[in-house]
Symmetry: C2
Subunit: 602 residues, 2 copies
Amino acid sequence: MQVYQAPLRDMRFVLHELFAQHDGFGAIAAHEEFTPDLLDAVLEEAAKMAHEVLLPLNAPGDEEGCHHENGVVRTPAGFKDAYKQFCEAGWASLANDAEWGGQGLPETINKLVEEMICGANVSFSLYPGLTHGATTAIESHASDDLKQRYLPKMTSGEWSGTMCLTESHCGTDLGLLRTKAVPQDDGSYKITGNKIFISAGEHDLAGNIVHLVLARIQGAPEGVKGISLFIVPKYLPKDDGSVGPSNGVLCTGIEHKMGLKASATCQMSFEDSVGWVVGEPNKGLAAMFTMMNTERVSVGIQGLGIGEASYQGAVAYAKDRIQGRALSGVKRPDLAADPIIVHPDVRRMLMTQRAYLEGCRAVGQWVSRALDVVRHGTDPVAKQRADDFVQLMTPVVKALFTDLGHEAAHLGVQTYGGHGYIREHGMEQYARDARIAMIYEGTNGIQGLDLVGRKLGAHAGRYLKSFFHPVSDFIEANKDAKEDKNNPWGKLVAGLEQAFGALQLSTATIAQKGMADPEEAAAAGTDYLRLLGLVAMAYMFARSAEIAGAKMMAGEDPDGFYKNKLTTVRFFYERILPQAAGLLMAIKAGKASMMDMAEDAF
Amino acid sequence: MQVYQAPLRDMRFVLHELFAQHDGFGAIAAHEEFTPDLLDAVLEEAAKMAHEVLLPLNAPGDEEGCHHENGVVRTPAGFKDAYKQFCEAGWASLANDAEWGGQGLPETINKLVEEMICGANVSFSLYPGLTHGATTAIESHASDDLKQRYLPKMTSGEWSGTMCLTESHCGTDLGLLRTKAVPQDDGSYKITGNKIFISAGEHDLAGNIVHLVLARIQGAPEGVKGISLFIVPKYLPKDDGSVGPSNGVLCTGIEHKMGLKASATCQMSFEDSVGWVVGEPNKGLAAMFTMMNTERVSVGIQGLGIGEASYQGAVAYAKDRIQGRALSGVKRPDLAADPIIVHPDVRRMLMTQRAYLEGCRAVGQWVSRALDVVRHGTDPVAKQRADDFVQLMTPVVKALFTDLGHEAAHLGVQTYGGHGYIREHGMEQYARDARIAMIYEGTNGIQGLDLVGRKLGAHAGRYLKSFFHPVSDFIEANKDAKEDKNNPWGKLVAGLEQAFGALQLSTATIAQKGMADPEEAAAAGTDYLRLLGLVAMAYMFARSAEIAGAKMMAGEDPDGFYKNKLTTVRFFYERILPQAAGLLMAIKAGKASMMDMAEDAF
């Protein structure tokens, strides 16, 4: 009963139109071979794959779940075949480096394809997704020998990857971790310890599983300064590339979760497992963050993908389900009642979903552009600005997209009424599946802390400039329109200016109070992240409206896409952006009302 | 792993202190026998029952679910015993009329006990809850003969009740319903049709199940004007009160739901089942709404109860789980890390839950006071005002409490991080269980429509006065404090006045635009309901602060309850109430941005 078709029209809009000017980051020589036609063809093929291969497994996968017995994990029926098809068609290695067998496509494309995969089957997405994160860390930090040994097999998907951070007593606070690494004479280590919540820790899809494990080398300092990153394969690879003997890595159980049931979340035990250090000893956290940051953006995209799937399900139902009559008069006299899409409150839910999704997709594309520049750009100034922007926006994409994606999934359930609460239509699965993304790879509260605690102040506020400058330039460039009260476009610019003003004031408040008392900054984290996210969406929508308006003026809107874009923009500005005012007030209020309560009064 | 203790201290506060003055409704003679000590004893006994009998079955009930085979439904292990104990101790008939064997306790107490039952085990609450709704409808509308035959057995809980409204093609729009009633010579009817989503439609707890069924009498008008309400028992009662033969009522299946798994949600088939009309033929909808309105307030209380359970779970974890160090310096040098309750963002989540719960509890008590006056008051003016207030606030309590309860349940999950997403701690169950309350007994969107479409305009806005007058009187009475900028109490009054001003402006906007175009009112429904709810909570908090402040000045705060109340009030005013500004802006924007999109553009 679940429906999902990749939203190709809007994807092409953000890819080719919204970011046609490359946002000041400059063109990327390495990507010049990828013509718009080629990219569109990739997107269309990906859409087909998502619809035909992954979507049919989504609801059955949730129903069946994963099974664990004696260390062996079986994924739901069909997953093995789908994974094989997926890898053979090259989807596993879309953005990987050609040197290791990847296709070297831009992140802009990769993130759109990720959105499709998550829209069709987010549980499935975890298997190749974790591998992609692992290869990123290996590429950036491992020795040439390790790269040669692992990257080709992992890029093809023949072997999969994981990230083993969490232990039962530590998640956010990795300084507490206890897994041990004992140096061996040959330069390798023996790893011993227990990890939990390991996505794709064990499964039946790949010939080998390459764990990236955080552990503490014997004698290393306590806390985060004594943590190293290791490659620990399930089977030790032989020199000819085939898999050798088992390596003491055992899945001791899988979690029973609210959702994401077709993704195996494993408890892993390592016992004298041979591992090789990735990067420098005791600098594992930095190496792991390479992986984590890539993953954080991808987790944001999960929220977007699931939200889109829920939106499409809700639209289909709202057009089909008849109930009551339109307040403006009967719309379908041929039926016993009108389809519920005629009712304003149903419209409110659908438009809210839509505004969230189109806004996030545009912001996501902006960040992906910057990721490409960081990796492949040649102009050092543009590269720096792109990196600043990625630093700033990574927590925003992660938390904003997953919060809004979860809310969108629930609006989908609500549109179905009672039929949304039962399993039959697959809507409640979206709500359950979307929930984890607000938690893993750093809870959304941690993202807020990262934003206000690390990103705002870094390099005297330089990261923030990568975002503030384009927004204020845009407002400045459209000043005249704003002055004209009869110009609807002017109203938009004024709305953006107001929200941006709230963001600037909030930033100043946090910078000032947070200097004297870091708890003041921390208390504002979640609200500030949301406010910055809303302004980023508003800016993307204003830019979109500019393009759409020009197209309409030129009479180039045969299918009404640009007209509809303007309606969505208006909805966002009128019905969602006004939250900025309340967020500013909450941020200005400070920490007292939350910190004054005595601990035992809770 | 779930913890829940009824929040008796706060319950006593709202019961004895906040509503000591009876809010202008006047004392109720019929309730004078219930001394504060007696009521406290009832609450304490209820708390014990919830904790000892119902809570231990909550997680296991979710795990096991209900089972259906050949028309027979088995509830999870332990439910049958618990139900027996529950009824024998008199909890099933707490607020029922003494004439039928009930205890005749005030609704104020009943709703607090309902909160406890829902906090401990919301699935269980449905079984006695539906019965209570059914007895309300029977008491108000049925003939004396039907009352004599059904009310004693239903009051004791020996027989249970249901409400059979929904059919697969109609939920909100009951005018479409097809279940038929054919008149018989003896004045009874033969009922034939299929119903879905019938809570407690079939189960193994009671000796008989009394269905209140909406059906259309042969030849009756189409639409809602041809609907009648019938009593249709599972077994036909004999004259001696024992159960006789089966009555053609069959459970054909149960739903597989997101949550609420220990509550049997049944598909019911009626085939030539004997039924008796309740009230007048073709006026079934009005009779059913007697039941529905009682149920709507109770559904709101479900949100509150589950939210409180999630809050308590989150508090326990936040004090126990150690992770990271306080930004203001190490708090627990004896441990490897500080408990996470030291972190501002964790505080934000806990305080948000707390403010929601204390605010809703106070508003719920206010409405319960009015319900008591409607039923037992003697002063016609007070009775009218109370009824006006109940009319106005029923949709608000239903939608506001369930929205905030659901959000609170998710904040509980979030506080647990990854441990909240797995079943082990029981936190994700709260989120799943809480979700349905936003849907059933009229979706929350329908509540918004009811509020703006029916309640605002009724009797030239008279309902609204029952709420606006006390609030504006309060602001007027505290005018002097407001003028004093150094008085924190004045800041509160100013905050209330501002939010109330936003509500008044919104009301005027809706009244004006909605007159010309009902879609304009409908488009504002959800936002307006939230705004009214926030102001109601703000008013309750201001009144609470007044009491708490006086107690502290008098040095009567040995356990810090009043100090903590003031901190919660401040949090609400600083961090939640500011949303009012954005809601006003959204409401003023009108319907265009949601209605302008062409249907096929979705």
